[in-house]
Symmetry: C2
Subunit: 417 residues, 2 copies
C-alpha cells in the first residue's frame, strides 16, 4: 500500500511524518483555549473533538472526544478505532465532498501547544532488548553474569511510576538522590552525576483485561505506540537497585512523544521477533509478527549548539514484543486498564552506534561520545535530548514527532521553601 | 486521653474497635443502594455523605463526600481533616443536641456491604522491616548476604501494581506463573505452589507533592493507615525477581482493610523508630516519633475449620516509618498524588511467632506451622487469611477491622474462553 492522498496538500509530501496513512492521536490547544483531542495531518492538527461536536463524526457510545485525553476512545475498543480511522480517512481523502466542513477545523501545527495525549493509569517498564541487557549486565554484574538466567524465558519488567510520565517538551530537572561509590564507606545525598536517557517505545493499552490473556489477545488490546525516554540516574540506580529493582533512579521523568501512532498505521510495518535462542513457554508464543520496523534515533543538542545524532537503531531489535510483554503482565491475574503504558526497554542494536543509552554509548563513562563542540559521557545541564522514530513505506513515512526534553540544573537545595 | 464517650452506646465498649476516638473512614452500601462514604462508630456506620447532604456537615471546598470514595477529603488537607473530625466528634459525643438528626443516618454494620475506601492512584511497597529483610535475605541469598549493603541507609522500595489492590473480603484466585527450580533446565508455567501473605500496614497519601519533601512534610501529607496484605507467590518471585525486582509474584492481589484509620486517631500511639545502627543521611532524619504502637496478628482459617492465630507482631518493629519512606520516595522529584498507597513492608518481629509471612514462619517450607486440624507451609486452596490490628489506649481501643481474603483455586486453564 502506498501513500493515501489527501486534500491537505502538506500531507502528501514524501518526507513528511503525518500523511493520511498515519493519523496519530494527540491533544492540542490554541492560545488560551482548553486542550482538545486532535489528529496530525500534514502540517496541521485536525480538531476531532470539533468534528464530533458538529456531527461530522459519530462514534458508538459517543461522545468520546469531549475530554482532553484519548482514554475514552482507547477504551472503546477495536471496532470504534477502525470506525474512527475509516471516517477520518474519508473526510480527509483527496476528493472528499466534506472538505468544506472539515477545513475550518484544521490548525497549523506550528501554532498549537501539545499536551499529554492520554491519562496514564499505570506505567510498566521492560528490559527486553538483548543488546541492552547484555551491555548493562556486563557493566553492573560482569560479563559472566551479564544476561540473567531468566532473561531468555521471561520478558523481564518492573512497575514504574505513572506520575513521572510527561509529554515531549517538558523540562526535566536533574534529580537529587542517594549514591555511594565502592570507595566510600557511607552514602551521599547529592544531584545525580550520571543522568541518562533510555530510548524506548511505549505501548498504550486501550482495552482493559482482568485475567490472563494470550499474546494475540494482548496485541488486540493495544491502541498504539509512542516514543518513550526513560530518564535514568545511573549513580542512584547502581546503589539502590538491589534487591528490589530500580526506584528513584527512574522516577524523575519519563518523556513520551506528543502523538500516539495507532496500531492501524503501523500495520504495514510488522516484523517478527528474532529467532529464539531457547524455546519460549507456550503462553508467550506469537501467532504472527508483533514487532514493527521503526527506525529510531537519538539526538543531543547542547545549549546554544547544534544537534548531533548519537545513536541510530530500530524497534525490530527487541527480543520480546509489547504483545508478549502485556501477555506476561497478565499471567498472575493482574488487571490491566485503559491508559496503562508499557515501556519496551532500551532499544540497542549490535554495534556501538546503535546503543540506546549514554551508559552504553560511553561504556559506563569510559568512552566519551563526540557531540557538537565537545564530548559527553552523561547528560550535562541544559542539554536537550531528542528521540525520533519513523516507518518508511512506499512513497510515505509514518512519524511519531519528537520526544524531547531539556535537562535543567538540579535544585540548589531541594528542601528550601 | 481516655475514651471519648458517645451517645452511640456500643461505641463505649472497652473492647470495641470503633469508639468515638477512632472514626475510621470507609465506603458502605445498604442493599442495592449505591456505595457512600461512612465512618464506623460502635456497631454502626454513620452515613457522612448523608450528613453533608442534609447540611449537618459543611467542609471547606465541599461537597467532598458526594462520591463513593474518600479521595476528595484526603486531597483537601489537614485543616479539612481536623474540621471533619471535630464536627463528627461533636455530633456523636454524649449529650450532643443533634443526636435526633444524626441517628437516622446510622446503619448497623452487620447489615452493610463494605467497598474500597479510596481510589488507589499508585501503589508502592517497601521492605522496611529489619527482621523480615534478614529472614528473607538469608533464605534467598544466604546468611552472609542477608541484609543488602544499602538497607541500613535507604528505605528500600519498589513500585507495585495499583490495579491489584482490593478490599477485605474479596476472594483471591491462586495465580499461574512462570517458575523454575534449581534442578530443572527449563521453566514451567503452572499455578503457584508457594502462595503467601505479607502482613503490612499501608499509609494512604492525602496531600499531593511535586518536589522533594522532608520527613515532617511527608508525615503531614499522610491521611491515614490501613492494614495491608501483600499476597506473594514465592515460587514465581524466586525465578523472576533478579535483576529488576518482584513483578508478577506481587500482582495478583493486595488486600486492604475496609477502614482507613486516620492519623488523628493514631496520634496518641506514636512511637519512635528503633535506634540506628548507622547514622541516616539528614534527609531521612525524623523530627519526632513517626511509627505507631499497633498490635498486629495474622489468623489462618481452613475451609470448615477454626481460626488459628499464626503470628503476632507490632508495627513499631519497623526500621523505617511511612514518613521516611514517603520522603525518600520524593527525592528524585517523583510527584506523589492523593490516593497513593505505601506498603510498609512485612512486619516481622524478632521471634518465630512474630514473623509476618508464611515464608518466614515455615522457614521456606521446611518447618510447617500448626493450624486447626493440620499444618501449613504455604497457603492451601480455600484457606482464609485474616490480618487484624489495634492500638490499646486507656479504656479504649482503635481497631482497623479485618483485612481478610480467601484463596480460591487456580483456573484450570487460564486461557480457556
Amino acid at each position: 500500500m502506498g501513500l493515501i492522498r489527501s486534500w491537505v496538500e502538506s500531507a502528501n509530501a514524501a518526507e513528511g511524518p503525518f500523511p493520511l496513512n498515519n493519523l496519530p492521536c494527540g491533544v492540542f490547544s490554541v492560545g488560551q483555549d482548553e486542550p482538545r483531542c486532535g489528529v496530525a495531518i500534514g502540517d496541521f492538527v485536525l480538531d476531532v473533538a470539533g468534528l464530533e461536536e458538529e456531527g461530522l463524526l459519530q462514534l458508538e457510545g459517543g461522545p468520546l472526544l469531549d475530554v482532553p485525553f484519548w482514554n475514552e476512545v482507547m477504551g472503546a475498543g477495536p471496532a470504534v478505532w477502525a470506525a474512527l480511522r475509516d471516517r477520518l480517512t474519508a473526510l480527509l481523502a483527496e476528493g472528499s465532498a466534506e472538505r468544506g466542513a472539515v477545513e475550518p477545523l484544521l490548525h497549523p501545527l506550528a501554532g498549537v501547544a501539545l499536551h499529554m495525549p492520554f491519562l496514564v493509569s499505570e506505567y510498566t517498564d521492560f528490559y527486553a532488548g538483548r543488546h541492552h541487557a547484555t551491555n548493562v549486565g556486563t557493566m553492573f554484574r560482569g560479563a559472566e553474569n551479564a544476561l540473567p538466567p531468566n532473561w531468555l524465558h521471561i520478558p523481564i519488567g518492573y512497575n514504574g511510576r505513572a506520575s513521572s510520565v510527561v509529554v515531549s517538551g517538558t523540562p526535566v530537572r536533574r534529580p537529587w538522590g542517594q549514591v555511594k561509590g565502592p570507595d566510600h564507606a557511607m552514602p551521599f545525598f547529592q544531584p545525580s552525576r550520571r543522568f541518562d536517557i533510555e530510548l524506548e517505545m511505549g505501548a498504550v493499552v486501550g482495552v482493559p483485561s482482568e485475567g490472563p490473556v494470550t499474546v494475540a489477545e494482548a496485541d488486540a488490546m493495544i491502541f498504539g505506540y509512542v516514543l518513550l525516554n526513560d530518564w535514568s540516574a545511573r549513580d542512584i540506580q547502581a546503589w539502590e537497585y538491589q534487591p528490589l529493582g530500580p526506584f528513584q533512579a527512574k522516577a524523575t521523568a519519563t518523556t513520551i512523544s506528543s502523538w500516539i501512532v495507532t496500531k492501524a498505521a503501523l500495520e504495514p510495518f510488522r516484523v517478527p521477533t528474532p529467532p529464539r535462542e531457547v524455546p519460549l513457554l507456550p503462553y508467550l508464543h506469537e501467532p504472527g509478527p508483533m514487532l514493527y520496523d521503526i527506525a529510531l534515533e537519538v539526538a543531543l543538542q547542547p545549549e546554544g549548539g547544534a544537534e548531533t545524532v548519537i545513536a541510530r537503531t530500530n524497534y525490530a531489535q527487541m527480543y520480546y514484543s509489547a504483545a508478549q510483554q502485556l501477555a506476561h503482565h497478565t499471567t498472575s491475574g493482574c488487571a490491566m486498564n485503559t491508559g496503562d503504558l508499557l515501556g519496551s526497554g532500551t532499544i540497542s542494536g549490535p554495534v556501538r552506534e546503535s546503543r540506546g543509552s549514554l551508559l552504553e554509548l560511553s561504556w559506563g563513562g569510559k568512552e566519551p561520545v563526540a557531540i557538537d563542540g565537545g564530548t559527553r559521557t552523561f547528560i550535562e545541564d541544559n542539554d536537550t535530548l531528542i528521540l525520533r522514530g519513523e516507518c518508511r513505506g512506499e512513497g510515505y513515512r509514518i512519524g511519531f514527532g519528537d520526544c524531547a526534553g531539556t535537562v535543567i540544573p538540579a535544585l540548589a537545595d531541594p528542601y528550601a521553601r
